[in-house]
Amino acid sequence: MPRLLGVDIPNYKKIEYALRYIYGVGPARAAQVVAETGIDPDTRAKDLTEEDLNKITNAINEHKYAVEGDLRRETAANLKRLQAINCYRGLRHRRGLPVRGQRTSTNARTRKGSRRTVGVMKK
């Protein structure tokens, strides 16, 4: 199986779809990279030549796309900044509640996680 940008090992899928397994590359970037490198979109990831892989890596680096570890570090740094300056958004992140003003009376389950029943303590 081919390796791209470190650890990523996509599989039997066509390259445009295989590229999406890289953290930071979605449909738009995958399509763009394929178009730019001029690789036949129908090739499967396992059939990529060494040269193709280099071309793809170069295309991604050229655009300065933050990908994988760098991207993860970037988002983590953003989160940390928000929490460090004690602003409203940082607070919401800390409490694990929705950050962008959504209702929390009901719903918001993505952020709050699955339901936990909280009993009222007597005295």
């Binding site: 300056i85 602003c87 409490r95 303590m121």
Partner: protein
């Protein structure tokens, strides 16, 4: 949707005056303000503010990381309630 860049950031003129004055006189005295909607600009850095939250003034010390946020983001308007909190005290 964010504010159009063309317009630039917004600061209440009255607050800007107070900040200019504080920077000129190098005063450490906190600036009382109700203008939660004003964007923190680089010349706010190092100043102390007291930002109104509708009830009282909350101390906000501006650091470099806060530039680009608004003053109101640092002065909560709501009390965070948890269950069981009324049994404590």
């Amino acid at each position: 949707m964010p504010r159009s860049i063309k317009k630039g950031f917004f600061i209440d003129p009255s607050l800007q005056d107070k900040v200019d004055e504080a920077v000129r006189s190098n005063s450490r005295k906190p600036i009382n303000t109700w203008s939660r909607r004003s964007v923190i600009t680089p010349d706010f850095v190092g100043l102390n503010f007291k930002v109104h939250n509708g009830k009282s003034f909350i101390d906000v010390h501006v650091t470099e990381n806060m530039v680009g946020h608004k003053l109101g983001e640092f002065s909560l308007t709501r009390t965070f309630k948890t269950h069981g909190s009324h049994t404590k005290k």
